[in-house]
């Protein structure tokens, strides 16, 4: 496993949540640090 410390700007994108709400990622990280966990698949 490799955790890489990098310091680059995250791309701000509009995202759709499973409950049907839309947000820009910046609306999330502006509040609190955001731990974004990308899953493989729903298996």
């Amino acid at each position: 496993m490799t955790l890489v410390e990098i310091y680059q700007k995250a791309v701000d994108a509009e995202v759709l949540f499973s409950d049907g709400t839309n947000y820009r990622l910046s609306e999330l990280w502006n509040i609190r640090p955001l731990l974004l966990v990308f899953l493989r698949h729903f298996g």
Partner: protein
């Protein structure tokens, strides 16, 4: 990760998952496993691509190392469900601070390569 939800909340992170399913399938998945983390739906993998998460190679999926990890998981009672979506899509984890800077990134080397909960919780110390 779900079992550590309180610890993540205490760490002042907001944990958001990103999945490949549609909103309906994602909600069904959340309900099936009683997940309470919010989940972003990215069936077209746009966000995966934006964050540089690629697909695992066929050779990597058949590697002895990965097969051995799978057998160990099975021996501990972890059985895989019916895979849906792109099973070759690689996972990853990113910590983004309140200024929009990516402070840590984990690009999985293979499908089983995920940071431990302890490793993720320790990231609060770098903020």
């Amino acid at each position: 990760m779900h079992r550590a939800k309180t610890q993540f909340e205490d760490s002042n992170f907001q944990v958001v998952l990103v999945g490949l399913g549609t909103p309906d399938r994602t909600e069904a998945f959340k309900k099936q496993f009683s997940l309470t983390f919010p989940i972003i739906c990215d069936p077209e993998k746009k966000l995966y691509q934006t964050f540089g998460l690629g697909r695992v190679s066929v050779a990597s999926m058949a590697s002895p190392t990965l097969l051995l990890k799978g057998l160990k998981a099975l021996s501990r009672g972890h059985t895989p469900g019916m895979p849906r979506d792109d099973i070759m899509q690689m996972p990853g984890v990113f910590l983004i601070d309140t200024s929009g800077n990516i402070r840590y990134a984990h690009y999985s080397k293979d499908p089983s390569d995920n940071p431990s909960i302890a490793t993720l919780l320790a990231l609060k110390d770098i903020l």
